[in-house]
Symmetry: D4
Subunit: 162 residues, 8 copies
């Protein structure tokens, strides 16, 4: 198994359906990663241990998905200077507005890069990590640009049957 470049954490196994959109991108681009369920509130010490371990093996980014009072991405960022990307999970009552504000409104000093609520956010968090890794990998940069072009072509060839 290759050394992981990305650590993906989710606060609950029910978040996996959303986070699959991040996992799919990492797999498509052959980025080695670790994926874990760990909770800022229910497994605080295990989370700290995991973050420290991942920093030591040299991951380049964390992707953390959480819902409600979504402390997970911020707590990870409190333990590391490795870039942390937060994905607000849609919630039953408040539809992820709670998750979004809990992640994005970080106090000055500990940054968390936040993405859209739900699957679009999960996918974009992974794409953002690719951009970041591509800064030092011309091979990956090429692939990311190819992905963008393919994405554009797919849109352009749609015919609207009005």
């Amino acid at each position: 198994m290759k050394k992981p470049e990305v650590a993906l954490v989710m606060g609950s196994i029910s978040d996996l359906d959303t986070m699959q959109d991040a996992i799919g991108i990492l797999k498509d681009f052959n980025i080695p990663f670790v994926a874990k369920v760990l909770s800022a509130h229910r497994t605080p010490k295990d989370l700290e241990a995991f973050v420290t371990a991942m920093e030591q093996v040299g991951v380049k980014a964390f992707i953390a998905g959480a819902g409600g009072a979504a402390a997970l991405p911020g707590v990870i960022a409190s333990f590391t200077t490795v870039p942390v990307c937060g994905v607000p999970i849609e919630t039953k009552s408040l539809k992820g507005l709670d998750s979004l504000l809990s992640i994005v409104q970080m106090p000055a000093g500990i940054p968390v890069a936040t993405f859209a609520i739900g699957k679009a956010g999960a996918k974009n968090a992974a794409l953002f990590v690719l951009s970041l890794l591509a800064l030092v990998s011309p091979g990956l940069l090429k692939k990311v640009r190819r992905f963008r072009k393919k994405q554009a072509r797919a849109i352009k060839k749609i015919k609207v049957k009005a």
Copy 2:
């Protein structure tokens, strides 16, 4: 100095103005307490150490005030089974709606008792802690009831100059 019964934590010294309304109640009722500035995001390990220490000296409740992505009360609750009361601090842009949702929308399993945004919430968190301490202190219960009566009398004697 007496052994503290309550530990009061705030995420930033700028929260003190709000938290004074909790401190005022604790002082009026002669409840020994400790007050600290500690941040879930900027001083995670010190926060954990403080929570553990306070649990060991036997505090009966935590009161935690925080604003924005207000992880503080939930992170305290992740380290202890002592009751944690959260006070959402009013924020500049979103007026504390962010703080409120970040504190109240805790996932099932780790409870945080949440109070109103701002000074009313700070005062009520302290009054709630008194109610809780009064469960095993008939003397305090009497004082709390007297406070309630005095509060009612103060309202009743207001004359509206219409």
Copy 3:
């Protein structure tokens, strides 16, 4: 039948589905309790009589679930100094944001401890009451800590099939 330690009230029988998550916790921990449907608006005098009676039999906490203009927890708190825990019930149109604000934004002077909208809030209100009861019951404290550990273990052993 044992003397109740907790009084659980809901504003409508339709709230029972949510409040079962509180009831489940109280049962799992063998906490004797009373559960009633009473409305702050439709049965105000019966509610007052019930609160007074429960205070006299010595309950240690109220758990009150209500939706919409959710006056129930605050009105209970207006009649007693026993700790009151409020659970905002999810509503059809505003998804419980109305319930949440009606419960959490109590004026200074009468505290209500508020928990998350819906089932997570119901479960956490009950867990919070356990923490409160555990302050004077080493046996219960042990059980609560065991619950926390079990909960953590359950999360840690999840394998993410990425």
Copy 4:
């Protein structure tokens, strides 16, 4: 002193500034009224006594202003079938959205007529009460219609200096 036709209640003396806009209308139209500060949460029994007394002296409407978890209008309505008009007071953090939802989202069975947040709501609650009283008072009806016409004329004669 004449028998009151309207009872005006506010949850706190700080609400008086807003409620003056209701009082002004009642005075302008010579409607006898009583104005009191009483709190659903801090003086529940006095509130109940007041509502019952006012119903007995035959008031035709209640106007109740309250802020935050604004239970006041709903609790008044729980004790009487006399029409209750609620005025949401603007609050410091949430600007009266909390007050509005706490008043307007009453459960089916106990109606509260709700008006706009702040002074416009206070004025309109009083104007609404006039309309209601005018149903059985041709003299008042005439005055209300004259008020409407005067109001329209005042707008129509404005010249915009563009």
Copy 5:
């Protein structure tokens, strides 16, 4: 057919499902009423004609349900001094928050009594009209009080199967 006492208007036939809860109350209490679909935006002149005609036949109240940019209740109130009760209809995207704000936030000068979003609001608007009619009808007052008692009894006899 008896002379109508209440005019019920809705902005679209799709609002009927909600407004049935108002109609049901009016029928249960034998209040003669007229029910129409008329739109402030699509049939402005017919609406004005209807309001004027209803005022002339002597209706005592309007109940108006509308959704989205719900101008209907305010426009009715602009044509009459008869009390107008507004019911915000739940909408597809914004769940009736748009309807609520469009109805309740009336400018000072033209009052509209607003009720909860959806069926609870429709039922309460009708119950409020009963209260208003009961001011001059001892027979109706008795019925309204009986309704309240029956409603309370129905709640009190619920047994919670915990």
Copy 6:
């Protein structure tokens, strides 16, 4: 005086400060216009008469600014097929969110073109009307394009003193 091409209406003279940003644009481009204070709620018949008169003199667009339950633009649109542009005025409590939803959420069938809350919206409503008039006026089109270029140049020459 030249025949007006645009009719600008505001619901209250207090809206003039905002609407000046529309008036300024109309003046800068020498578009003849009429500006009036008229209220959908307080002067409904005068409003209807004004809209009809303006349609007859051949105005090409209405610009209507209103706040709160802002029925004005929609009511204007109910009386004419001339394009109506709505400007939500910022309100004291809800900051114009009420105005925005009351204007933009029009039911299908009667269109109102909505712009941003406050002065930006007023300015853009006027600029939009210019675009519309420019469709049949090559001279005006040239001026609008020149305005755009000047606007771009003004931005491009800003030096950031970092």
Copy 7:
């Protein structure tokens, strides 16, 4: 094929279901139009090329539907002075509130006419374009007025089965 008078753009093919309500109106009134899927974010250069081409063929209006961070209408408006009408598409989590604010809150200088979230907005955007085209087409004006009358008649003949 006739020269298009309107260019309709949507950010994703999933928006077509909503935009059909605009297309339906354009077809019913025999307005020649072009409909395309183009994304401000994924196909920026193609979008610019399309807008420029459409301006050159002389379209009189753009109708653009987009969801989430809905930059599409504003970006189109940045490339042309032809009137742009924006339709906020309902989104999964935030129900189109995100789309609405992203479209309507344009900065002063570049106007976008915004319509309601979803199908009502799509239909009204097309109706608004008709009003605009009718300014220079007496034939179309007649048809638009006939549409309005037919719409009113359809409402007026509804019988409410209460």
Copy 8:
């Protein structure tokens, strides 16, 4: 002058006060950067040219601050695969909620890393860029870690004068 590593863009010079908190961090850490005012809506072509130029000189990240319908960060991201960090600027009416949703709710395919509304977000965007640059610069990593420790120490030494 050194080759820039970061390009900082703001939509209006009025955003500079907020963006100074990003600039301050870049200066403190001696990161060469370019700062420009460019608008997605008012200077679209200049913005595209600037983004392309910056990508060619090899900047490692963009930081873009914008308010209202804040298309700027997303439009930058549409032209480059270099990581883009978005800062929602607080707005007058909606306090930056509009800016936040316009930036964070990007559709899947084009990522923008979003930070908190206002100065905290500006500072954290810059700190996040440092983390990203530190991935390939051990010297910078050391400095970032020192910054974190200093920040923690500053908090820990605060004494609360209760």
